[in-house]
Every structure is written in structure tokens, then in C-alpha cells.
Amino acid sequence: MLHLPLEVAGQVAEICTQLHKKGIEAVGYNWRHNYLGVDHRLANSDAYEMANTWEDALRYFDIFHYHTGYTLYKDKKDMMMALEAGKKVIMHHRGNDVRIPSQAVKGNDYYNPYVYVGDSQPEEQMIRNLKFFSKYLSTAIVQDEELYAYVKDYYRHVHILPRLIDTAQIKPRYVSMEKDVPLIVHAPTSRAFKGTDTILKVIAKMKKEFPIHFQLVEKMSKPKALAVMAKADIVIDQILCGFYGNVSVEAMALGKPVLAYIRPDIQQRLADDCPVISANPDTLYDRLKSLLQCPEQRRQIGMKGREYVQNHHSAEQVINQLVQIYRSL
């Protein structure tokens, strides 16, 4: 199968790696090149070269798994050709391709005044794309409950496929209770989306009250970012959008306590064992303070996080689910 056309936070490379382990040929095209570093598990290129391979790709692959609402051609000709050739096609929505601004703020059973949608595509374009894709594709994938709400009314089948992580590769490094000055880490890819400005203000205030170290992880390759997170005592992920992101999954795999905003309606549907401490701009100070006051709690939550990731995000488990989705196409 061919994943295209871009990598999203290491997820596409991990999917391909895990599919290979199951004996399934999978190639991931990636046209996004940034500071996260080159992942040789992917076929790194640009849209022009990818488009030039299209005829060979159509002959070679059976399933075309698109990500983030992108296609090779702007007019989506490649996707239509794959369908005309009788190939299986699926769209994996990832975030700002479906986070419809008006819906992100308010839904039937939620209100989120914090969410940042400045990185999202224009609302009309998003809806147009969703209508187009769902007209031709029966099935879509999203990575969490937050995104599910935006997509569910369009496709016949929408699967929530959790973010995956190879827990065998990432060993836990549980927080020490002996540490006098705990390290708090925040690793934003987009400051506005993650709520970094608010986080920095809260940290500045906290520094006056507690002896803490703080490290902002930005523009750093993924292995380096993980190395920094491994030293952390607390990780703050995204405090606006309403669900936790990849950083939370990585931090939990490392055995760290994580703060991220979980929208109350989603929290109700979430597994009971989810140890992410929900914190939004109004509650971050209190939640963080409580954690700083209790090293034992930090350690316990970190251990639960590792367990939670093994139960809900383990690569093997998620890939089995994905294979089932492919079979249903």
C-alpha cells in the first residue's frame, strides 16, 4: 500500500514500519521536510516527482492511504484515477484539515472557548473537501474523538485509529522523587495551537513560587526532543484544542505525567485509565501547582501513563486495527 503524500509527526513512518513487520509492503511518500529530521523509512521527495510516479504507483499498489486531506494533484485527479482503477482508497484526517472553526468552538454537547483554529484551512474549503472526499470514499480515519465529531456526518464509516507508538523502542524513564528542582518540558510544533504563550506566562509565575527548571523544545529533531523529554518530570502538551496530541503519547511512553486539555464531553467517553491531567488556560496554574507539590503523584501518574500507552497506543495493537480497516474497504 502507498501512504501519501506527507508525514505527520512520525506516524506515517511508524505505520509503514509496523505493516512491514506484518509482512505487508507499505511505502510512505513524504513531501514535508522540516527540522524533525529525515526519516529514511519514508520516500522523501516533492509533489512533482511523486506525480511523475503515479502511473507506476497505480500498477504497483493495491491500497492508497491519503493523509491530512492532501492529494498529489490539487484537482484530486490521482485519487480519482486510483478509484477508477479499482483500487482501495482511504482518507486519514489529521487535524487542521477538518477542524472546522465554528464546530471546534461549539457543538451539541460542548463549548471550547480556548481552541485555536488559525492554522486550519478556511472553513468553506474544509467543508468542500469533506463533501468531495466523502462523495467518492466510503471510509475515513481520524486519530481521536475530537476530530471524529467534525467528520462523522460525512463518511459512511469513520474509524478512530489512535496514534501509534512502538513502546519497545521507547523505554520508560520514570520520574525521580528525589529531585529537588523538577524539570518541566513543553514541546510545541505550533505555539499558537498548543497555547505556548499561556504556558510561558504560567511558568513565569510558577518560577516565583517553586524551584523549577523549564525547557522549551522547539525546532529540534525528534530523537533530540525525545532525549530532552526523557529527562523531564512534567510534560505540558497542548492546552487549547481539547484532546492530547503526539507529544502526550511520547511523554506517557517515557513514563512522564502529562498536562493537556481534554474537553469535558470527550473526557466522559474516554477510557477510565487515561491519566492525562486535563488543564486549560484557566486551570493550568492550579493543576501544575498540585503536581509540583507532590512528587509521589508525578511518579504514579507517569507509571499509569506508560501503562495507558501500552494499552491504547501500542503500535502492534493499532496496526492490527488498521489492517482490519483495510480489510473492510
Binding site: H40, S45, Y48, N52
Partner: protein
């Protein structure tokens, strides 16, 4: 300063998945590419420069391009390309035969190299040393091994008496950042052999404007215009302007299939005239995606004539 490259024809072969058969260029197929035959049976020289490019090998592995990511060629596949290039009555031998038959002393040939795909499984030993393409040195070692094996064969075969080896073509259009240093070192190696290097990238691709700094001797851009996709003729205009500014050449596309309009080649021809009028000196590389100039000769006489007169 390298000599100008005459209009060059890309000839593709080995396993063609579209036709589901092996393609080996033979004398009678190459003849109408070297010698233009008018309908009144006069014979005049046609193409004098050829790029020989492998598609897939008999085990359906891809030797070149981003397609290497699908199923990269193994060491055996690289050797298969070498073996067929020097096979009796085909490829180089056939080219040499036709050149000699028509006393064409001006025929030169470029060989497209396999692309060492970095995510490839262990490639195997290269001259007693291991080859793992995660390592740039190993990738260069494999390229060097193949180029030297090619040149050894070349010296031993009679084809070298009738045709001239001009150089090697880099086996991929795109240049991801991790290939940059490798390409520089590869170009240096090609020059050590007193040969030339050619790159066939896409217009607007990364690093294209830096082609001289990367060490290439020649470059011909693919304009992304085919007449029946969202990329309109402006892409051709812009490629031409870019090529003029950056002393690059242009690929002349005469394709067949869903993305090629009836008149796209005519537009390429017009653009070529424009480019020459404005002093462009880069190479023109003729490509026939999804068919070949030989098929055009057999099936579409008018188009065959158009190609000839476009030179």
C-alpha cells in the same frame, strides 16, 4: 568547459510493467531513431545522442527514480542492467551496429545509473566490502563499482569503436537533502573518469538552480506540462524562462496516455524555438512516456516527422 550536448533521445527498456514484457532495443528498432527515413526513402541522420534508461528488472524491481522506494533493485538487479546493456544484438551492441551501418561517427551515449535507495535492505558485498545504503560512503561505493564495471565491459566490447560514451545520468529526478553530498561526490567521481554527468530534474524542484554547484555538467528540466492535467502551458513558459536564466536545458515530452493532450508536443516545439532564439544553449532531451519514438515511427508517421523537424 564541456561541449554542447546535441538533442538527446531517451530510450527506456528492461521490464515494462505496462506491457508486461521485457523490452530490449534491437537494431531494427533503433534504426529509425538514428536515421530519418522520409516517405520518399531518402535517409538522413536523426538523433546522434542517446540516454539508455532501465525501467524494472526481470524481478520487477525498480532501478531508478522515486519508484525505487516501491521495490529497490538489488545487487543482482544492478548486474542485470549491466548484462543486458552489453548483450549481443541489443542495446549498445545494436546502437553500435546501426551507427556503423550508416557510417554515423557522431553517435554518443549516456547511461542512466541505478539509484542507491537509502532505505534499501543490505545491498550485498561490493568488492569484498559491505554495502548498506543508510551509509553515504556505501552508496557511493556501489555507484563507483557499477560505473567501473560498466567501463571495463565497454572497453572489452566492440561497440566502443563505433559509439562514444559521453557520460552517466543521475538516476533520480528529485534531490532530497540527504542526496546532496552524495551527488557532489558522485559528480566528482564521474569527472575522474573523464566523463560527463547529466541530471533530469523537475522544474521547481529543490536545488535545481544550484545544479552547477552540485557538480553536474548538464541539466535538462521536466516542465510538468503534458496538456491534460491541471498544469497549464504556463509551466512550459516558466520552465523556459528559468532554463534561460540558469543555463539549463529542457526535456521535450511527447507522451501517450491520460495526461497527454494531442497538441502538447507542438507546444514543446514552439517553446524550443523560443528558447534557442533567446540564446538558450542547454540540452534538449526527448522523452516518449508510455510509448517510444519507434512506436511513433510505426504508428504515427506525421508525429515522427514532427519530431524530426523539431530537431
Amino acid at each position: 568547459m564541456t561541449a554542447k550536448v546535441p538533442p538527446t533521445l531517451m530510450v527506456e527498456g528492461l521490464y515494462d510493467a505496462r506491457l508486461d514484457r521485457m523490452i530490449h532495443w534491437q537494431r531494427e528498432q533503433l534504426e529509425p531513431l538514428l536515421i530519418y527515413r522520409s516517405e520518399t526513402h531518402y535517409f538522413v541522420p536523426f538523433f546522434s545522442s542517446f540516454i539508455l534508461k532501465p525501467l524494472q528488472t526481470s524481478s520487477a524491481h525498480f532501478l531508478c527514480g522515486l519508484q525505487s522506494a516501491f521495490k529497490a533493485g538489488t545487487k543482482d538487479d544492478w548486474l542485470e542492467w549491466l548484462k543486458h546493456l552489453f548483450g549481443y544484438g541489443k542495446w549498445l551492441d545494436a546502437l553500435s551496429y546501426v551507427a556503423a551501418k550508416y557510417q554515423r561517427a557522431d553517435i554518443e551515449v549516456w547511461i542512466m545509473l541505478p539509484y542507491p535507495y537509502p532505505h534499501q535492505q543490505p545491498f550485498g558485498d561490493i568488492k569484498g566490502m559491505s554495502g548498506h545504503f543508510r551509509n553515504e560512503n556505501h552508496r557511493l561505493r556501489a555507484l563507483k563499482w557499477w560505473m567501473e564495471a560498466f567501463q571495463e565491459e565497454w572497453m572489452q566490447h566492440a561497440c566502443s569503436e563505433n559509439i562514444r560514451l559521453r557520460g552517466f545520468v543521475w538516476g533520480r529526478e528529485g534531490l532530497p537533502p540527504f542526496d546532496r553530498e552524495l551527488v557532489k561526490r558522485w559528480n566528482h567521481q564521474v569527472h575522474e573518469y573523464h566523463l560527463e554527468s547529466l541530471w533530469l530534474p523537475n522544474y521547481k524542484a529543490a536545488f535545481v538552480e544550484h545544479w552547477p554547484d552540485l557538480g553536474f555538467d548538464h541539466v535538462a528540466l521536466y516542465p510538468q506540462y503534458t496538456g491534460a492535467t491541471e498544469n497549464d502551458a504556463e509551466w512550459l513558459d516558466n520552465t523556459t524562462k528559468f532554463a534561460l536564466v540558469h543555463q539549463a536545458g529542457i526535456q521535450m515530452i511527447c507522451g501517450q496516455g491520460w495526461k497527454y493532450s494531442e497538441d502538447h508536443f507542438r507546444k514543446y516545439h514552439r517553446q524550443k524555438v523560443f528558447y534557442r532564439q533567446l540564446g538558450g544553449k542547454g540540452p534538449f532531451v526527448y522523452r516518449f512516456p508510455n510509448h517510444s519514438l519507434y512506436r511513433v515511427f510505426i504508428e504515427d508517421r506525421q508525429r515522427y516527422d514532427d519530431v524530426f523537424f523539431s530537431l
